[in-house]
Symmetry: C2
Subunit: 301 residues, 2 copies
């Protein structure tokens, strides 16, 4: 069997776990990790010792799929570059309000270059979206509540870190029920910076503007970090004309490990789709799973 | 918008709820219900008063999709007949060990007749299979336990009713944890029949041969019937090389209402697949949901 040749673009939280997930996938081969040129001058982390690390993906040969392990705001630009090279891409873009635009923007580029983009392929958006979709057709009328946490939101933490004056940041999501959340933001700031101004910038950021958000100054963000996270999703709805159908989904997971694992599953699915851009609810579930098709149907259905 | 023209073939438990689910679907039109000729000589149930009821699907015009609401053992023969007419089919075939065969047998017939068969499209097999598939790619190593009930199993009850000497039957599934179940079978039998022989025939039926099964004689099965059912599915597994990923799915539902609702969703998906035969894990989730594609992505992803 020819293995799927995967590159990892970006080496933060997700990238580190993506290396492990690609190495564990029986049908994949890790071609290399693409890091920012500025990272290459620093000491190489020991776990990358036997892995090809480059600053430009053109230095890697015959990459089938690139896992874009970068902050959401850098995803589109990077995906466009890769798709134009004929390299399929997987990302975990998590700005819910901009997913349709990203999908449509990447769609034509992918089609023109015979490549596939699978976008927003983490757990939310991602596997949670698939569960929401399944619950929707099981009980078409009704309400689904998605309750996150308690847990650290990587997307939100990265967004805070990007704000001027912030040295380090942690955003913890607290579920208040019925899909309402509190966001606890813990920050370290630069000595000369203005806490009130930084706090204001955080509160008006699109990541935070819709939720109750508390910003707290702490001496050491690192001491607070635990990447465990969770979800409780509930739908009470109507099948046909029968009410009180009760559906529930819950998980407690290591966040970057799960995100990168789902990205790896999507890398596999890239090779089974027609050129274009897709969210996970547009892809048959079986395409995401390793194994023989008939054996999978026998085992899972 | 042209509506999907749906026929319901068979009018038992599922068929009754399927009428309601088709009538509630904004994109569907119920063309008619096909019943056995022997049923047509009996008084028509009042809820069918304004619905076309026939004994042969050829009496209905331009049927796009037929929902086969019949016992699993009659599904293949019926599906073959319908697919040969160019009518797409949806069934809730629930004999897990024979699903791959059914899929492969129907696949060529569907392809030859430009029709689509979506098989095993209830909740297990069906939506549960999709959840199992999602959990599998989220944590590729690990164990998934599917715990059913407590609740009445329609497939198992129908299987018992088909045994000679049985007048009425109810099979209740009791979850014992870690995917182990007890089956409580309540039967009424014909006066001249032999309970011990009937019990032996039940215990050796493929539906029961793998589970702890108790057969009990009761004066009136109808008094025991409640079509509520449920599932608790749990997976503890490994994402990449990170252990202790905890995934859980639970539902408490009206069984025939949910089954027929999922069949209706599959009827919709029939029109979006290439000719052939499919299980639900082979179909994009979005194809099963009513609504505009971009709006669904915006809402669900």
């Amino acid at each position: 069997m020819e293995k799927i040749r995967v590159a990892i673009v970006g080496y933060g939280n997700i990238g580190k776990f993506a290396v492990e997930a690609v190495n564990e996938a029986p049908d994949m081969e890790l071609v290399g990790v693409v890091r920012r040129p500025s990272s290459l001058s620093k000491p190489i982390p020991p776990e990358l010792n036997n892995i090809t690390v480059v600053s430009d993906i053109d230095e890697l040969e015959n990459v089938d799929v690139a896992l874009i392990s970068m902050p959401s705001r850098l995803v589109e630009e990077t995906a466009v570059q890769l798709l134009n090279k004929g390299i399929s891409t997987v990302d975990s873009f998590d700005i819910h309000s901009k997913i349709v635009d990203l999908r449509n923007n990447l769609n034509l580029i992918a089609q023109d270059n015979n490549s596939v983009a699978i976008i927003s392929s983490g757990w939310d958006p991602g596997s949670d979206s698939m569960i929401r979709g399944i619950m929707e057709f099981m009980a078409p009328r009704g309400v689904t509540d998605t309750n996150f946490g308690p847990g650290m939101s990587m997307g939100h933490s990265v967004a805070v870190k990007a704000i001027e004056g912030v040295v380090d940041a942690l955003s913890v999501t607290i579920p208040l029920g019925t899909g309402i959340h509190r966001r606890m933001v813990y920050i370290q700031i630069e000595p000369e910076s203005n806490f009130d101004q930084i706090k204001e910038n955080i509160l008006k950021d699109p990541y935070f503007v819709n939720d109750e958000t508390h910003v707290k100054l702490v001496p050491n963000v690192k001491d607070l970090i635990d990447v465990g996270h969770g979800v409780l999703m509930e739908r009470k709805g109507v099948s046909g004309s029968t009410h009180n159908q009760l559906l529930k989904y819950e998980m407690r997971i290591n966040n970057p490990a799960l995100t990168s694992q789902i990205m790896v599953a999507s890398a596999r699915a890239c090779l089974k789709q027609n050129p274009g851009s897709y969210t996970l609810i547009e892809i048959p579930i079986i395409d995401l799973i390793y194994g023989d098709r008939e054996e999978l149907i026998h085992k899972l259905v």
